[in-house]
Amino acid sequence: MNLDLTWRLLKGGGRKGLLGVWLTLGAVAVSTALLLFAVAANLAFDARAERGAWRNPVPVAKDAAAKDAVAVEASRFDYVRDRAITVVDLAALRPDAAPPPGLPRFPKPGETWLSPALAELARELLPAELGDRYPRPAGVLGDEALVYPGELVAVVGHAPDAPAMTAERSDDWIVGKPPVRVASLAGTPSEDAEAYKVLAVIASVLMVVPLLVFGGAAARLTVARRDRRLAALRLVGATPGQVVRMTVAEAVLVALAGALVGAVAFALAVPLLTLIEIQGGAWFAGDLFPGLAVLAGVLVAVPLLVGLSAVAGLRRVVVSPLGVAKRETPPGMRFVRVLALLAVLAAFPMLTQGTSVAIVAVALGLAFLCLNLAGPWVVGLIGRITAGTARGPARLLAGRRLVDDPRSAWRTVSGVALTGFVAGFLGLLSPGAFAQADGPPQLRVLAPAGQAEQVAGQARERLAAAKVPAVVTVVKRTVVAAPSGPLDAAAMDRARTALAGLVPGRTPTTEADERGFGDQLLADVRVGTIVVLSVSFLVAIASAGITAASSVLDRRQTYGLLRLAGTPLEVLDRARRAETLIPLGVMGGGAILVGAFCATPFMIGGVSVAGVVTLVVCVVLGFAGVIGAGALSRPLLRSVTADPAPRPD
């Protein structure tokens, strides 16, 4: 009986009721797609970390018997055309040593295995530029060995006693890993892979909180439309249970449809999402597809959350049949909400003293949620001020409406306010790279103790043979080769190739090479910022549009009668605009400041121009987007009020 009635309620809502259903469906679809994205992003970084783990060896325990060690592994970075190549040096200690992922067998001494992209590059460039560094290629690495599709990786086989496997190396992970004896090539995710995972978690928190707010708003949208109808049902004697079941059934049905649409939309977007370059490369599509279990989880969780939110929204109707039919002065928003935010802000610097990233993420999420808690209170305050100082009808209407329902007004602007928080946070966090002026590029390599002069001599010979004019000098133990004359990328790579293997286990590098990792991290933070901001914006704009439309739908009778009595549509429209813009200005600005405040403990160096520019662009886009989304509901307002005999339904 319930489902049947629910279905008839759904259909009987009329064209405008159906519009509400579509709005809910759209909102849920957007939420689901973005939620899947947030989850998939985390899983994708996990997958990358796992796949890269074999290059980050776990040494056998010191006291373990020598027979536990099956291989010696070391890694370093080489460079071609300013791109980093991960070079893994491997030596088997036992004939039955298992090969690393992506290789059919353990590489024999002298053999090299190249990743597809590196093999391709080696074919394109002259052997003197790249190929000669990796002679005797035995095959191509499988995707299981690669962090991302176009990655440049070389695996070089050695004998266990080869100089490359025994010579001392730097411990600095930026330069590579010294040779260690390992019991297996499974390895463990590297420090930077772990760092990226943490960054992904933070980004997800920043994206998911506005999403939850938005999803809740969508659920209440369904309920709001049904408020009066259901209150009427209660009046004619439907039991609270029946009312709740019917509404929840409707909300869940619509949400399920929306979630499915969202999942399809996400699947369609994956090919585009794989193009986002992070850590130096794009993504395997497989990494971005969350597993079936996750997908099923989201498809169950989203309708469930929407249903719960609907129940919460319905409490009023159920408690008192007159609760909705009769509207009273809403109880004042409690100041405690603001105290909560202030408390978190005060504690924030202390919370972030802790080194644990988990605590930082929690603190961030907390500040975020409290902002959301304080939002309605501040909106109410803004409303009182606006109404108190209003001269014209539009502002008066806007102000009174803000006081009447600060939560709904907050929902409209919360997206942008939370985005403002993110923008303020990240705007300060992304310094404009450690840009220093580079001198002419010089390749430098550390020579073994006491052999610097000898290595320098070899370097001169090799460079002369490769026809790269260069001045080779020795600074303490470092051999510095400064190519003279015009130097293009090809000549640089010839020099690199000539010097490859000059010192076993070490790669000659330039200052720019070494800085590359820092630059990469900053570039990735910037990409991450843009991704998070785009998601927040999508949410903010969708939420503004949906709230605006639903507010028109909810109040269509009053709007219609006002228009009949001669109230110009422009006044209603101006009131609606002010209703959004005033809190948007105050809250958006406030949120950016709060976000910036939260970012100060993490700040590296000064405020960056790039960050500020991102922030300004964000604010401008946010305002434009919200105004635009609100303007979209103007035709709806027109059509809703055009009915000469508006009837309550």
């Binding site: 009769k326 509207r327 009273e328 002065t329 209003a390 001269r391 014209g392 009808p393 008066l396 209407l397 009174r400 409406r401 006081v403 009447d404 329902d405 009778q557 009053t558 009668l561 006002l562 228009r563 009949l564 009595a565 001669g566 109230t567 110009p568 006044v571 000469p644 005999a645 508006p646 309550p648």
Partner: protein
């Protein structure tokens, strides 16, 4: 010749339905006219045509000698705001505005300063039996009180004609009659004409005359005519 509002040969069709089949009606200054008739007979349609809410398919509507049915929507809207007042069955008050601001709204729309508008609005509360209700919100008023606020809102701009479509339809009979008496007295007091659609003969008795609509035609006229 002191007709304020005149409708001539008004015809309105909705698809196959003929809601008005050629209605002639004239309302004089200060006169209260009740429109009665069975459900679906065209009462609301007649009211909407006379008030410039709808355009009749045929016929003309004149306010003080000026033809209004041919005006554009913008002009008719301004006319409704300044020259007409409206009282509907319910739902016309903005729930978030206190009563006095609901009443002041039409004045503010007309450009009166907020202070002035609210002061003028307050003057209506005592005569309509609403002392102390100025700052209550519609949700905190009884149905009858809310209708009286709506009456104040309709009259505050000192309109030439007040239109009321079943203004007491949502009230019990006694409250309805009290409210109706207030409506008629207040409009008379303000030299405004009143056109009210009602189902209640007792309510109609408060008016100067009653017209009856059947199937889109005026069939009887009773009460004082001159």
């Amino acid at each position: 010749m002191n007709d304020v509002l005149v409708g001539r040969a008004l015809v309105k069709r909705f698809g196959q339905t003929v809601a008005l089949g050629g209605v002639d009606i004239a309302v004089r200054a200060g006169e209260a006219v009740a429109i009665m008739g069975p459900s679906g007979s065209g009462k609301s349609t007649l009211l909407h045509c006379l008030a410039g809410i709808m355009r009749p398919d045929e016929g003309e509507v004149h306010l003080l000698g000026q033809r209004i049915d041919a005006m554009g929507e913008r002009k008719r809207s301004a006319l409704r705001r300044t020259r007409f007042g409206f009282v509907f069955q319910f739902g016309q008050l903005l729930p978030e505005l206190p009563a006095e601001e609901n009443v002041a709204l039409p004045l503010m729309l007309g450009g009166v300063s907020r202070q002035q508008a609210v002061r003028q609005a307050r003057e209506w509360f005592a005569p309509l039996g609403l002392p102390g209700m100025e700052t209550r919100r519609p949700g905190e008023l009884s149905g009858g009180q809310a209708q009286r606020v709506a009456i104040a809102r309709a009259l505050v701009t000192r309109p030439a004609v007040v239109f009321a479509d079943e203004p007491t339809g949502a009230l019990d009979q006694r409250t309805g009659q009290d409210t109706m008496r207030l409506l008629v007295e207040a409009t008379r007091h303000n030299d405004a004409s009143l056109i009210v659609v009602t189902h209640d003969p007792n309510v109609a008795a408060w008016c100067d005359r009653t017209v009856e609509v059947r199937d889109g035609h005026l069939v009887t006229m009773s009460g004082a005519t001159a």
